[in-house]
């Protein structure tokens, strides 16, 4: 089986296909980098990053002055709070990524396939010596590369700026946490890239797919939690007389379970734990149990990752599932003008 696979990789056809893939991938990547909308989004993110870090610094400054007056210290992981603290009139950087990241992904993918079809280049491209899936693979990978590059560029820029302005020195562990945070952000945005490519495959017009993506994004980001609360309240009436502790638990589990469908919710959970070593668990029972007895201590990065591993895997699975459906739809699509 394995040797079959290897000989297949060496065959003339797959070599031709790989070459085509490379050419197409580079072309797609170059297209993204030379597109206006990519740079508009990129600079928007950069601006937001800078402003949110400034806001965070002023908040932290006030807080630390207060803490000093009381003779206490804020936290040992001060640098991380640059990413998670909101200013007086602006959200924190991590909130912005959670909120606007999807738009970045959608913008890169919403017209990937249908624009090609509308231009009449899809059948010409499909007639080149490549397998059909190479087209969608190259497009997704080029998009993912662009997301990776943009997120790390902005993230590291913000890190450096925070370092310069605040003078806070990041510990090595904090730096690792930031890198992991950026990687998770890439996955999170790629979920939306995959979804938008899916919509671009199934809808004929770019406008339709963009609107469908935005609708889904709004629903998952804003309304799913409302829906989850409503449904959980209906099935587990916590405010009634007969409510027991198990009703409350059922309510909580259902509500969180539904909310976790949304990549936004998953991402915010990941950020909570990853960027704040003080948070020990996301599970309500262990949080309640440790509330009284909790010793103020920090989780090492390995333990933090362990807490959010399911969320990361779930996000990754959503990305893979979105791309897989897009892939299947594309392979079954009728290629004609």
């Amino acid at each position: 089986m394995w040797t079959d696979f290897c000989t297949d990789l060496q065959s003339d056809d797959s070599r031709t296909n790989r070459h085509g893939f490379k050419v197409l991938y580079l072309k797609e990547f170059a297209d993204i980098l030379s597109s206006k909308r990519f740079w508009v989004m990129f600079f928007l993110f950069l601006l937001i990053g800078i402003v949110s870090v400034r806001g965070a610094i002023s908040t932290i400054g006030q807080a630390s002055q207060q803490a000093q007056q009381q003779g206490a210290s804020l936290t040992d992981y001060l640098f991380l709070t640059l990413f998670t603290t909101s200013g007086s009139s602006i959200y924190s950087f991590s909130t912005f990524v959670g909120f606007l990241g999807p738009i970045f992904g959608i913008m890169l993918g919403f017209d990937a396939i249908n624009n090609e079809a509308a231009q009449g280049t899809l059948n010409r491209l499909a007639a080149q010596p490549i397998y059909r899936d190479t087209i969608i693979n190259a497009k997704f990978l080029a998009g993912a590369t662009a997301v990776f590059a943009a997120v790390f560029a902005v993230g590291l820029w913000v890190t450096g700026l925070g370092l310069l302005i605040s003078g806070i020195e990041p510990q090595p562990e904090e730096f690792v946490r930031i890198v992991v945070f950026l990687l998770v952000s890439v996955i999170y945005i790629c979920v939306w890239l995959a979804i938008s490519i899916l919509f671009s495959t199934i809808s004929r017009h770019a406008a339709t797919s963009a609107l469908a993506c935005i609708a889904l994004w709004l629903f998952l980001t804003m309304f799913l939690s409302l829906f989850a609360t409503g449904l959980a309240g209906l099935l587990f009436p916590v405010n009634s007389q007969s409510a027991t502790i198990s009703t409350a638990l059922g309510y909580y589990n259902l509500q969180v379970g539904i909310s976790r469908i949304s990549p936004y919710y998953l991402f915010s959970e990941v950020t909570q734990v990853l960027m704040n070593p003080n948070v020990h668990s996301l599970d309500i029972m262990s949080t309640l149990a440790s509330q009284d007895s909790q010793v103020a201590s920090y989780l090492p990065i390995g333990q933090s990752l362990l807490q959010i591993w399911p969320q990361i895997v779930a996000m990754f699975a959503e990305m893979v599932a979105g791309f897989a459906i897009a892939y299947i739809c594309f392979m079954k699509k009728e290629i004609r003008a």
Partner: protein, 351 residues
Amino acid sequence: MADVIIRTRDLVKRYGDITAVDHLNLDICRGEVFGLLGPNGAGKTTTTLMLLGLTDPTSGHAWIDGHDCTRSALTVKKEVGYLPDNVGFYGDMTGRENLVFTGEMNGLTKKEANERATGLLERVGMTFAADRNAGTYSRGMRQRLGIADVLMKDPKIIIMDEPTLGIDPAGMHELTALIRELSVKDGRTILISSHELYQIQAISDRVGIFVDGKMIACGRIGDLGRQLQNEGLYMLDIKAEKEGMERAASDSLLQTILKGIPDITVLKKQPDGSLHIEAKTNIEGSLLAVLVGNGFVLREMHERGGDLDEIYRKYFEKAGESDGGTDTEQSGTEKHGLKEDVDRLLHRSAK
């Protein structure tokens, strides 16, 4: 048919209840220009897509140069250039960049691709617009760039789908000359699908007439005409008039006289004033005698059937009418009539 390069056997494609291509058996020889002629929706595009492996056939097989079009699609795509109907280019790249991209996709280096693109742009007469964004091109320019694009991979076989659709007459003439040259000068095999009769006639060595997914006739244009004659169908267009007589009166007199000739089956007045005659035997001799005997002067006489015109009219326009017809009953009978014609044509020649 010594050297068959494109071969299909019982090729069928169904979309739900609709059979787009129905048991197609096609043999195209190396180096010839084959015209696939048929009305819109006859299954021409579906056939070309199946040949390229872009659509899977429901049943049956197609081979190009010995390779199965479905199983070894990649090998086929290496050898076959495809010019789709209404070809498109990346609008934010120049014509030259578009060509270079295609060249690179086909394994050329950037330098080779650039050189070939320059040569081909010259050949299709697009050098003047080569460095303009392809988004600004007119339809005719896109079509010419499309031919250059196909040639970037230096294919043995070129499949063109409606290449002259929506192009002005001058551009059409250039384009047909160019296509003909690809076959004669470069020795490429060309499969060209179109519903435009005259263009096909000007370009093709052989034609296949395609209606409702079936190929109802196939052969050299002359042979097809003779095929019709062999089964007793002679067609003439004449223009005749009598001196000193009014036009309408002369015409009706002429029709009455001609009805006297045995073997004439159809007499029809045409918009340009000529009279269309169909007969079971060659009636030229008796026709002339009758005309002269009645004092008519023969202005024009054309023998039909030597070109595609009548074949077209007989098989293809009927199908077109019944496709577009709103009266289902009428179209039903017409289709029936068409089917009989087809059977007659196919079986008579087989006998």
